[in-house]
């Protein structure tokens, strides 16, 4: 039986914003420049699941900007609305850059090839031909996703530890009711898109065996430590790999 997903959005606890506060916000928004966030150019919808629990699947709205042609950084919200909750972040890198990551790091990243080619990852509101031009590139990237707010378990506030998230890698993983819900909300058909994207190439070297947590589960654990400033000076130059 499919689990119940937290479709009912509870309000974040707190009083409605007071007029005085709102005026200050508006003033700031008018005066200030928003350099980094003006780079956010794209809204992308996909699904994530918890790295230790594939039964908990989350609709994830990514708002992405390019740092360069090979690296993107995204803010993840639970829905595409003005009152959406910021639930996490994702970074995307090309296959080439992924391969330069230390081996210990690779399991924290997931491949995007399946999500793109199956049609479940899409750009809401963007016509197919334009969307596909960009998704051709996304299919060849890896992502690292951390969520901070477990809205799917009904948390009204961002409680607990950050969670490593993974992405779909094969048919049969995505809950049909979640898929249908998203398809009808955004007027898309994953099956149709799968057909349209059949021409796309995936990763040149195939999915790296260490990616997608190398097929095992991952969890985050809190460790208490003595809080002393480190006696070593912090590294001030990048370490050279020889």
């Amino acid at each position: 039986m499919d689990p119940i997903h937290a479709n009912v959005v509870k309000d974040v606890p707190g009083e409605k914003t007071k007029i005085g506060t709102s005026i200050v916000d508006t003033a700031a928004a008018t005066i200030q420049s928003f350099g980094p966030t003006k780079q956010i150019h794209q809204h992308l919808c996909a699904f994530h699941f918890y790295a230790d629990d594939m039964t908990r699947q989350v609709e994830a709205h990514h708002y992405c900007g390019h740092l360069n042609d090979e690296v993107r950084q995204c803010l993840i919200y639970d829905r595409p609305d003005a009152d959406a909750r910021l639930i996490g972040v994702e970074y995307l890198v090309t296959e080439e850059l992924f391969l330069t990551l230390p081996d210990e790091e690779k399991p924290l990243w997931h491949s995007h090839e399946y999500e793109v080619k199956s049609g479940v990852l899409f750009l809401p509101g963007v016509p197919g031909p334009v969307e596909r031009k960009d998704l051709e590139k996304v299919a060849k990237t890896y992502g690292k996703t951390i969520h901070f707010w477990q809205v799917d378990r009904g948390d009204e506030l961002p409680l607990g530890l950050p969670q490593v998230m993974m992405a779909l890698t094969r048919d049969g993983q995505l809950y049909p009711n979640l898929a249908k819900d998203v398809e009808s909300k955004y007027g898309v058909s994953f099956q149709k898109e799968r057909e349209n994207r059949a021409y796309m190439e995936g990763l040149a070297h195939g999915i790296h065996p260490k990616a997608n947590a190398a097929g095992v589960g991952l969890k985050t654990v809190l460790r208490e430590i003595d809080c002393k400033p480190s006696s070593d000076p912090p590294p001030s130059v990048p370490r050279v790999f020889v």
Partner: protein, 257 residues
């Protein structure tokens, strides 16, 4: 497997850029732009404030960073911010901070409270600034923020030389009046020069902002009470798998004679 307080293995230096990678081609920029015109990006449009302040790594308080918050207010008691390492268009997204009023903070269990930090000192010391916005306009907002608590996860330790976001997320703490929470003067000077402000002067003008009483058994700023910080480890775990979809065929119940 990965820990927020463990330096990751090296990556090839390449040209040394952070992050590595080729610049966008004109063609890609055109695709980007044409998609952008068709999408509304509503959550991003809600960001209403840019704040520049400082933060300290909870597991190594000698490491301090300038942090740029792009803040959205969800209601009178809750804010969420995307945190970058500068205010430039090329800034790296280094984490997320959530901010709640003391009223909401007091509803959190102690185990959760330990992960949060107070903001009163940050505001009254002049660390927390809204570049470009006159102080007097921000006054009521400062009075609000001085009564809030924050939870800040850092996902990219740029200051340690990471050219890409490596390792486990790190828990950050806030500037405080004493000891390991004091922000290095040279960091403050660099920030002040960039924004043509004087944190010293701001401190004077904010001296009379009321701050919340620490009472109520609040457990924020855990390091101040215990001398302990927190690191995050990422470990192997049993993956809870999805049950295979089984088609259930209804069969007629056997008839008994």
């Amino acid at each position: 497997m990965a820990s927020s307080d463990k330096t990751p293995d090296s990556m090839p230096v390449g040209a040394g850029k952070v992050p590595p990678g080729k610049p966008m081609t004109v063609g890609d920029q055109v695709i980007d732009k044409s998609a952008q015109m068709l999408q509304t990006l509503k959550p991003i449009k809600q960001m209403s404030q840019h704040v520049c302040t400082f933060a300290v790594y909870g597991h190594d308080m000698s490491r301090q960073i300038e942090a740029h918050h792009y803040i959205t207010r969800l209601n009178q008691d809750f804010l969420q911010s995307a945190v970058y390492d500068s205010n430039e268009p090329s800034a790296n997204l280094i984490g997320v901070e959530y901010i709640v009023s003391d009223k909401i903070f007091d509803t959190l269990p102690p185990e959760e409270q330990k992960l949060w930090h107070s903001h009163d000192h940050e505001v009254t010391s002049g660390m927390w600034v809204c570049p470009g916005v006159p102080e007097r306009i921000q006054r009521t907002e400062f009075e609000n923020i001085a009564h809030t608590y924050g939870k800040f996860w850092c996902t990219w330790q740029v200051d340690r030389g990471d050219r890409l976001p490596l390792g486990a997320p790190a828990l950050m703490m806030s500037p405080q009046i004493a000891n390991m929470g004091v922000i290095k003067p040279e960091l403050v000077h660099v920030r002040d020069n960039k924004f043509k402000i004087s944190t010293e002067e701001l401190k004077k003008s904010r001296a009379n902002i009321p701050v919340s009483n620490p009472g109520n058994a609040r457990v924020a700023d855990y390091w101040m009470h215990t001398g302990k910080g927190f690191a995050i480890d990422i470990e192997h775990a049993e993956m809870k798998m999805k049950e295979p979809q089984v088609e259930i065929k209804m069969v007629e119940a056997p008839k008994f004679p």
